[in-house]
């Protein structure tokens, strides 16, 4: 099946070229960071995690969201999703791969990363996060690959693969729960110290992840032979709607607890994010505009998703989803991690400004993830095309022309 990845149209090769460009640039930026130290990032003694760990957090959600296709199909026999579960599984592989890369580029001593394995520490949530992420990536790769192979050969999916599929469903929930525990179990970080963190993570993940998948499927409809029925996409849009409402609801619960209790520690980060904080005659509020944009966009997407005419419109839905991805990214990929560090444990404020090397490395990692997803999707779509062409009796010339196009 691998051969499918090296045969493609001009568009396909251009896309790979762009991805390799992003990866190459990111790699050079990483060499720079590796040589000079993480001081080349915007992180500091006070904001000790920045955009890398933020992306890890966001992408764990994207990875987990593959389950929103797998679960309805395998547990509820929702047949419409049968054709697209493979896309969810392969996107999960790419997303987890990016998560691992983001951890790697964030390490001060990446050469020592195997200390995680050499000195396993079950008391550390990071240890468990590494375990669940790696297993989840393996599960999805094996499941996706095996199902595709069986499809190709016309075989029945073996029982052990079915077992893995059923394991992968709770496992998807586990990866985002454990990632939430990275934050939710730390004393002295009030913004993160909340029992609803895992649930909120899952809600935003099940909104943003399927939204990205749906956008990819819409793009595939244009750029490839892979046509997902609009009705199937409409089903996915409903899941996104519920998840997005839950996400905003959970956020409002946080706001209530912080402000009705009136406990300053619980309020300060909210103030920093939404009004800015004054400290020693200086106003700090770098993220305020972005957070308001995120909040307004979140409510906008809910309106656009709840009203059936807009949700079911092929014109409106893609715009809604782009807005949704942007809104949840600001919330989780920017505000959550960085905001949690402000104010610092000594009630002082240091802000975070992302640097150019950091941006280039981040784009490079996204490039790597996109490459993984592209190659896997190319193989999956290639196999499907072959199957669709097989039973039909077509002229040799037509067959050649069709094969050439892809």
């Amino acid at each position: 099946m691998l051969d499918k990845a090296i045969k493609g149209s001009k568009l396909y090769w251009w896309w790979l070229f762009i991805l390799f460009g992003a990866i190459g640039t990111g790699f050079l930026a990483y060499l720079y960071q590796f040589t000079h130290g993480l001081g080349e990032t915007g992180m500091s003694r006070d904001i000790s995690w920045g955009i890398y760990i933020s992306q890890l957090t966001y992408l764990v959600g994207v990875a987990a969201s593959g389950v929103m296709l797998v679960l309805p199909y395998y547990l509820h026999n929702h047949k419409a999703f049968g054709k697209i579960t493979i896309l969810g599984e392969f996107m999960a592989v790419g997303a987890v791969f990016m998560c691992l890369m983001f951890v790697l580029v964030d390490l001060g001593q990446p050469m020592r990363m195997f200390n995680l394995v050499l000195h396993p520490s079950p008391n550390s949530v990071l240890f468990w996060d590494a375990v669940v992420l790696n297993v989840y990536m393996g599960l999805n790769l094996v499941i996706g690959w095996m199902v595709l192979q069986c499809e190709k050969k016309g075989d029945v999916v073996p029982k052990w693969v079915k077992v893995l599929i059923y394991i992968s469903i709770p496992w998807a929930f586990s990866i985002h729960t454990v990632t939430a525990f990275l934050y939710a179990g730390l004393p002295g970080r009030h913004f993160w110290l909340t029992a609803i963190m895992a649930a909120r993570f899952l809600a935003s993940a099940f909104a943003a992840g399927p939204a990205i998948l749906l956008l990819i499927m819409l793009a595939l409809r244009k750029a490839s032979s892979f046509h997902v029925a609009w009705d199937t996409l409409k089903g996915l849009a409903k899941i996104i709607t519920y998840a997005m409402i839950a996400n905003v609801f959970f956020f409002l619960l946080e706001v209530f607890t912080a402000f009705y209790s009136g406990i300053p520690g619980h309020q300060e980060t909210f103030y920093y994010l939404f009004t800015g904080l004054s400290h020693h005659g200086h106003w700090y509020g770098q993220l305020v505009p972005a957070m308001w944009v995120s909040l307004i966009l979140m409510f906008t997407t809910i309106v656009l998703l709840v009203v059936p005419q807009w949700r079911n419109s092929e014109k409106v839905l893609p715009v809604t989803l782009v807005i949704l991805v942007a809104a949840t990214w600001i919330d989780k990929g920017l505000g959550l991690v960085i905001g949690g560090f402000i104010p610092n444990p000594l009630n002082e404020i240091t802000e975070y400004a992302v640097t150019l090397p950091e941006i280039l490395i981040t784009i490079g990692v996204y490039g790597m993830g996109a490459l993984v997803v592209t190659l896997l999707y190319k193989i999956a779509i290639g196999v499907r095309e072959e199957l669709e062409n097989k039973p039909r009796i077509i002229g040799a010339a037509e067959h050649a022309a069709h094969g050439h196009a892809h």
Binding site: G108, L126, F127
Partner: protein, 277 residues
Amino acid sequence: MSATRREFLKIAGIAAAAGAAATPAFASFIPGNILWPRGESKRDEAYTAKRWAMVIDLAKLDQKVVETVREACHAAHNVPDFLKVAGMGAGEAKRSEIKWIWPAKYESAFPNDMNEHMSANVTQRPVLVMCNHCDNPSCVRVCPTKATFQRADGLVLMDYHRCIGCRFCMAACPYGSRSFNWYDPRDAKDPKTLVGGRAVDPGFPTRTKGVVEKCNFCAERLARGEAPACVAACKNNEMVFGDLSDPESPARRLLRERYSVRRKPEMGTGPQVYYVI
């Protein structure tokens, strides 16, 4: 005050006698709970305790004391000084700073203990903050490689060669006591000099970029039979170090006699740096 002075003389006497006798059997009677008012209390074998703790007398701290203490600690542990780097912007220097012990404002050290109309004598004095060597350290709990660990005598220590630089411990510490080497702490051109111009003390390892570090309660000096550098630098018992398990230790006596506070005890970490007011 006079009590602690007497205590010192008594202990110094015992220590001198022990040194003279120099038999292992006798040496075991030397209390490990020694109070060090000066740096000269040195002995030939390691100081040990069941539970090391620090008591800091806030009433005695002033700008001069805290600067002396910080300098003594940072010199003893090869801590670079990014604030002194020419050409580095103030913002970047502050972001890259390494701090083992440093003066903080009262409101920063004790954000939950600020009352209206408090005595300026309390709120305006510098507070020395450092690693609290917690009983229940959250940094140790979260470390994925056991690079930071807790010793039986309570010291929370770091293995700089095992640390992968994930900085989970920095997020977990509710005291901001941990620093990360964002850059190489050693001068790029001269390996015998640290960033900021201080000469490297070969008696303590320098660190590499990409690892976390913090106060170690001078584990290396205790092992040599020396007082912690900060305590040794104090001229007037501003900092008292001792074995909390011994009710007769000067540290315990100070806690018995004076009102004490700790930083954020509500976090459940069990901080072992006490402040007497």
